[in-house]
Assembly symmetry: C2
Homo-oligomer: 108 residues x 2
């Protein structure tokens, strides 16, 4: 669990010249967002009353195959966009708003 972690990356895009390292890091997260199904998964998670879902719910709602959904969740988790927690059989995913805030800051 790292939902309270403070995330900083780079100077805002319009205010300073990005270093090569910062650009690579930022680009890697934008690539994760560059896939419509992943954006839909993120918005679907956020739209839940308790702001979390288990894979089971996503598969049913999105009409995608379980391995596809699992892959998108794994990629999003590894990019730090999602947090996960196992409860019994299922893993529950939750958005890490700090990461989205970091991206918003980087696009300023």
């Amino acid at each position: 669990m790292n939902s309270n972690q403070s995330i900083a990356c780079c100077p805002p895009l319009l205010e300073g010249r990005l270093t090569s390292n910062d650009a690579s890091y930022l680009a890697s997260i934008f690539r994760v967002l560059g896939e419509p199904a992943r954006l839909q998964i993120l918005s679907l998670i956020a739209a839940q009353p308790n702001q979390e879902v288990c894979t089971c719910e996503l598969v049913e709602t999105l009409g995608l195959a379980q391995p596809t959904v699992s892959h998108h969740l794994k990629v999003s988790y590894e990019a730090g966009l999602l947090n996960k927690e196992r409860r019994g059989t299922w893993i529950y995913y939750r958005i890490l708003p700090e990461k989205l805030a970091m991206l918003r800051d980087a696009l300023a």
Copy 2:
């Protein structure tokens, strides 16, 4: 020139379920940002005193080949991230901050 154009896209990611069309559109722009050299070009343009550059200056500063720089500029322009204006031999590029603002709104 469309720098005064108002740009709207979709509900903020955390506030509504994205439609398939909105997700495809947003993802296409994030893919453009998912390339380190393009992010560096954007930050370099923004860092100029007059906030614009011609291709000639970018080639020298970035140390990339002219066709590579031209390709990245073309892709960024087609995604609506840049505006361009021909003056004599050279084309000058300028950032369209409205597009970045739209992305920030979408990530809220």
